[in-house]
Symmetry: C2
């Protein structure tokens, strides 16, 4: 079963201790797609500007990403510029040029409205709601957001909570939303707001998954050369949702495997700038590292 | 095979969002013992003052801890006072009264010198070296330290590194010692300094274990009521070393199980003040929670 992702396609300028890249392909929906495509067909809902290089469009198409709902606007593509230092756990944003994102009014092509798996990556919650309304009876809906929306549109976000199955947050977002410092408490608080499943991403410390029937906690795959963590969270979500899209039964075992696939996809993401590594991945690469990971965490 | 632990026995005054305790039994060696005793006989090497309540001595003896090398001095027992708030990951120290620690010159009773497993909990590295010199051919030696010694006696500490099998550090200590932000790199750096095994404790995020042949990463057991984290690291070490002391072969599987036992012991520790929970633990309690933990992390 294929998956539809709403999010950003961006030009990222990134500085890390390992180097510098200018206006490389980035954005939540692009990173998500690069991982999810390993499991299923990905339909991308996003907006790009006139300055968006044709080679990036070809790059996405070559990897099987369906671009029927990618809006091409005369404005400028969303551009993010940031730098990482120290433990590489968070970026320092140097510049954010929203460009065409300011006029983004997502469209879902008719034939895509029956897609059963949906991921609403971080954009304005009102746009996320709009896309969700277009969809006919999705069976699995994931939602991501960020601090900005938590503080500026909490009501829209909480309304959306009632309509999604999985809410994905990072540690700080989960704590800010719930006003709970303990992550398990934060997850329980979020679960009460609607989503049956809550996934808290802890960066280099892995993920915590919560639902009424079980809790899972999985460490990150240990990497000693973190070149560029940009998009690791979206790559994780892509691997996680991509794998779940292929599973008929969403039981504990399927969810654990999905968490592991997400973890491994993210580990490849951080090993190179942007999508330099994930765009060349095949499922066998992921499975091989998954075998190593099993030995690292199993007891 | 029994285990000998060198460290502190303290009176702890602790404030957390869940309450307050004045001069309860604490200290690295005491917390370590409370977990290690579940697996093997524990011999404690430490010092207490005249003010140390007789009921605490009985409390340790009742739990089978051998106190033949516990020095009773006329001075005041080591007293630590601290408070936790927020995410409870680190304490704010309000007071440290070293008392008898200042005159501590550890003694190991003759019959204890042939004990095969040794844990040198955090005290002055010169005292750690002194105790280690007393021991006859130990087969497994663990070492813990803290930032204070890393900064004030780095040479003594690095000398000790050559003589121990396992170095246990928390995240910050590992980073400070190695000047590496990435924990896997930090572990590799520490390993090169001597200890064949390096264990990095990440608090609520679990532990990372490194040796030449494998890396293990295990999350913490998720706890939503962290009452008092004091001593969690020492309790972890006690469960870890205690279990390893019972194992003839220190292979990957034994180490993974030891990490899991340490994790579970620490999870009980944080659920109550001081040793209020761990002192009442039996191995069955630990095994039961270990079964739940297996389901949480296994995939």
């Amino acid at each position: 079963m294929s998956i539809l992702v709403l999010g950003t396609v961006a030009l990222d300028t990134v500085q890390t201790p390992y180097g510098f890249r200018e206006k490389m392909l980035g954005g939540s929906a692009a990173h998500f797609s690069m991982a999810a495509r390993l499991f299923t067909q990905v339909h991308l809902v996003a907006i790009i500007g006139k300055d968006f290089p044709a080679r990036y469009v070809a790059f996405l198409e070559d990897r099987g990403i369906v671009l029927d709902s990618l809006i091409r606007s005369p404005g400028k593509t969303f551009h993010w510029e940031g730098a990482y230092a120290g433990d590489m756990n968070s970026a320092k944003t140097r510049k954010t040029e929203l460009g065409v994102l300011l006029e983004f009014c997502p469209q879902v092509a008719g034939h895509q409205r029956k897609i059963k798996n949906v991921f609403l990556a971080n954009v304005d919650p009102d746009l996320q709601a709009r896309v969700l309304e277009c969809m006919r009876k999705p069976r699995l809906v994931g939602l991501d957001s960020m601090n900005y929306w938590i503080h500026n549109k909490p009501k829209s976000l909480l309304r959306l909570f009632k309509k999604v199955d999985i809410f994905v947050a990072n540690e700080q977002e989960a704590r800010d939303l719930s006003a709970e410092r303990n992550l398990l408490k934060a997850a329980k608080w979020l679960r009460k707001k609607g989503p049956a499943m809550v996934l808290i991403k802890k960066g280099e410390h892995g993920v915590l998954f919560y639902c009424d029937r079980f809790v899972f906690s999985i460490p990150a795959y240990p990497i000693d050369r973190v070149i560029d963590p940009t998009g690791a969270g979206d790559t994780f979500a892509g691997g996680f949702m991509g794998y779940l899209s292929t599973q008929k039964k969403l039981d504990g075992m399927a969810i654990k495997r999905a968490l592991a696939f997400g973890t491994i996809a993210a580990s490849f993401n951080v090993e190179a700038f942007g999508m330099e590594r994930t765009s060349r991945l095949c499922l066998d690469d992921v499975r091989q590292r998954l075998d190593v990971f099993r030995r690292i965490v199993l007891f």
